[in-house]
Amino acid sequence: MLQAIIKVTFLEGLRNKAVYGISLMAGLMMIFTVVLSGMIMRDVGKVATDFALSTATFAALLVVLFVGIIILARDLERKTIYLALSRSVPRSNYLVARFLGLGLLQGFVMLLLLVASLITLVLVKNMYARYFGAVSLGLVAVAHLFVFVQMLLLTALSILFSMVASSPFVTFILTILTWLIGSSTQEVKLLIESAGSDKFFPVVKILVTLAYYLFPNFALFDLKATAAHGLTLHAGKAGFALLYGLGYSVAVLSLALVLFKRKELT
């Protein structure tokens, strides 16, 4: 029963034209990365890695926003959800299976993106071996895993939002806002802390600190610099980020479940 719901969710994603559009865009960006690498002379590897990972992150984000959110919203809006819930399928199972289905879809897309990134970087490396630098392809792969975990968390958040939002558009906006704020709080907090206490009003400081703890810290999952510079990734740090992402997802999903169980499906 869980499997059937997971499978249908995955299929809906795959048969959605948006996924092809996003993949096409990512492919073009990767080709552009190869072309661009020919025009610069220094740190080719760093630039190419940064580009490839940014593309992968952006494409994965689009999948959450334009495929994940749409799938859930349509299910509620068009009442296709009735088929499962008018049987003895518990609502908790339904929501978890939906989440897993979206996760599977995201994982599949991430795998494609990883292959595209690696092909791009290997091409660039072979073409401009002398300028390529210390990029670690292993870390590039790990970076994709981190993007995946991050998108699982964002998917869980979008599910939570769709339980409270009055329309898919509101879910969409809330998800984007969370993404933007969650990706920047760490940087802003560091900036304010390093600038000295007299530069900013105390209110700003409090607000930033509040945002830092209230929103998920997506910067934890950003390994672009680490991979591009071939730095070492500390196991402790990496483990923390993964546990943080999964733990946060579980917590958010549990909250969504509580709301879903009480939701009126009119």
Binding site: M1, Y82, L85, P90
Partner: protein, 243 residues
């Protein structure tokens, strides 16, 4: 057996307005009975059905299916539901959709194959079964939804306007299908505006007006055509416009 006991449901509208969709509904549908639920548009028929299936929750009162409270998922283990204006996962083919529907009730793939080819045959959908539902006409979608509701051979079948969008041939098919369910001893709860069908198919009818059950009785006890009774009951309530 379905029991509604003093069930009330009010919807909150914008700016604090309220609609009482179902008011103090008490109703018993016995096992093996075919019950027809009729009433004007906006009377609360679909709301009653959604309450029964725990898609929405009553403000007060209790509902039980075979002595299990409707809030218990197990009460719906042997239930098939056709929603009004049904919508399917239209990226699937009818075959895939029926398989999904069967899997939700834990059927094995061999039973799914057997039941779905039987139902597709009965509903004259075999030809289209491997095409995506998104390319189906309204009536074909309605038929697919009916097949999906019956794939697991449910004991309680809840049909919300099963005849909507169907051509005369389709209506005849569904009519025969419901008659067959009746023969098999299934409990059937139908909401419909096609009173002639209700009259011929149902053992008992209930007329709901403005959320209240205004009349209830055996079809065999009717002293006038159902339509006449319907108009009379509605006129008695003084209703002249849908809420």
């Amino acid at each position: 057996m379905i029991i509604f006991e003093d069930v009330c449901k009010t919807f909150q509208l914008e700016r604090g307005k309220k609609v009482s969709a179902v008011q103090c509904l008490s109703l018993v549908v016995a096992s093996g009975e075919v019950f027809g639920c009729i009433g004007p548009n906006g009377a609360g028929k679909s709301t009653t059905i959604k309450l029964l299936l725990d898609l929405i929750r009553p403000d007060s009162g209790t509902i039980t299916i075979n002595s299990l409270p409707s809030r218990d998922n197990a009460s719906r283990a042997r239930v098939g539901y056709l929603p009004e204006n049904p919508c399917q996962y239209d990226f699937l083919t009818a075959h895939e959709y029926l398989a999904y529907s069967g899997n939700l009730s834990g059927l094995s793939s061999s039973i799914i194959a057997e039941r779905s080819s039987l139902l597709l045959e009965k509903l004259k959908l075999s030809q289209a079964a491997n095409r995506r539902i998104s390319g189906y006409s309204k009536g074909m979608q309605q038929r697919t939804a009916i097949a999906a509701a019956l794939i697991h051979n449910p004991d309680l079948v809840v049909l919300d306007e099963p005849m909507s969008g169907l051509d005369p041939l389709g209506r005849k098919l569904i009519f025969d299908l419901i008659a067959e369910l009746k023969e098999q001893g299934k409990t059937v709860f139908i909401s419909s505006h096609v009173l002639t069908d209700i009259e011929r198919l149902c053992d008992r009818v209930g007329i709901i007006v403005q959320g209240r059950l205004c009349h209830e009785g055996q079809v065999s006890d009717l002293t006038m055509p159902l339509e006449e009774l319907f108009l009379q009951v509605v006129a008695d309530t003084g209703l002249d416009e849908v809420k």
